[in-house]
Symmetry: C2
């Protein structure tokens, strides 16, 4: 290659979509930017990648610096590279998502961040850069991931009820599921361990608590991990539905 130096003028960034499940809703972590560009705008946590830093590690570093979150496994989703997506120059960005338990961690506004918030995904308005598009793509990835692998547990506390798990699936898939069929299917996978303990202090019959049993994560033999999203009862999730990116 004759002269290659003119190519080495780009920057690279990572953007993180951090999903949490709280009050029956899927939320994401957004930050209000404390510096230009897009100062004062809400945005996904993201920043530039250092020259001597692996891309995948960069996502963890950036998330930590901006929100204090640590030890969060991150999944690469997609890379966005239109020419003028960033006002300061040519910046290509890679999107990552992560699933966290908002209850057990404390995200805080850190460097260059004015504010931080957990926002239900159906309440997200205009974000900085092309972050709305990035969010859509991560959401769509999450929806297909949850059908194929037992990842939902990462969004729940260590011990949880089957109803909570079902609500989580309903929130992500945007459908309502049949209770008996859901329980049958999940239990038949033998990935849940019955802790022999029940809820306390609830004003109704207390539910059994389960724990995800990582041992038994053999892939389910036939279909997707949880593919029967067909028994949807067309009830309430209208806004949710329409935001599903088909096509």
């Amino acid at each position: 290659m004759s002269d290659v130096s003119s190519f080495f003028k780009m920057a690279f960034s990572v953007d993180c979509v951090i999903f949490g499940f709280d009050e029956g809703k899927i939320k994401i972590l957004i930050i209000k930017r404390g510096e230009d560009p897009f100062k004062g705008f809400w945005a996904l946590p993201g920043n530039l990648v250092y020259l001597d830093e692996d891309l995948n590690l960069s996502a963890k570093r950036v998330l930590h610096e901006l929100t204090g979150l640590q030890n969060v496994p991150m999944q690469q989703v997609s890379t966005f590279g239109t020419v003028s997506r960033h006002p300061l120059g040519r910046v290509i960005t890679t999107a990552y998502y992560a699933l966290v338990k908002p209850s057990t961690l404390h995200a805080y506004a850190s460097s260059h961040v004015e504010q931080i918030a957990w926002l239900p995904i159906d309440e997200v308005e205009e974000l900085a850069f092309d972050h709305n598009i990035i969010l859509e793509s991560c959401l769509s990835k999450l929806r297909s991931a949850i059908k194929n692998r037992p990842i939902g547990f990462d969004l729940l506390p260590k011990h949880f009820t089957l109803s909570a798990l079902q609500k989580l699936y309903e929130a992500i898939l945007g459908t309502s599921l049949d209770k008996r069929n859901f329980r049958k299917k999940i239990l038949s996978m033998e990935i849940l361990e019955d802790k022999g303990v029940t809820q306390e202090g609830v004003a109704h019959r207390p539910a059994k608590l389960f724990q995800f049993d990582a041992e038994n994560t053999k892939p389910s033999p036939k279909t997707d991990f949880y593919s029967n999203f067909n028994n949807a009862k067309k009830i309430s999730f209208d806004h949710f539905r329409k935001s599903r990116s088909f096509s």
Copy 2:
């Protein structure tokens, strides 16, 4: 952001995994590099992205420049960004795959390319850069894509027999499929148009020719597009057939 200029020192590239189906095998297009780095090595077609060029368009441009291929839809797969994956500096690369019909197009060695070859995927040896890893990830993407969407047709000539289609699925999935069940399932999807024509000049009963009917590409209602890869026959033990692939 105080001083950001030190970040704008990276380069960006795209690498293409071009799949073809030929002689019953899945092959990829590889090039022998005509310039450093890795001059003389076999590699995936790939090159640096221009500063003023959209990432996704870059993949098409690069493929065209190196192989002459044009109008090939490309799917983004994944981005690779370890620090020293490229000897000339910090270069992050995005992998794309495409499905082509080797019969109807003429790839040729173009700029900076010494040679070009279609190589069966199981005969690929050491490639330049981290291209072996990139290939693996595209292959794995192809395998899951073919189960979810009717993309196999992009690898076949316009008119094809059901046996050819089945062989294609078998080659990609690495399993053997039951002939009657395969035909039943594919035909029930109503995405194939019977051309009322048969093969000619074959030394056996000629097969009917079909054509992919893009009209009818409603997503199959329940399961994956072609998910029943479980009826794999372990070839020899025809009656001893407890051979379902568990675990």
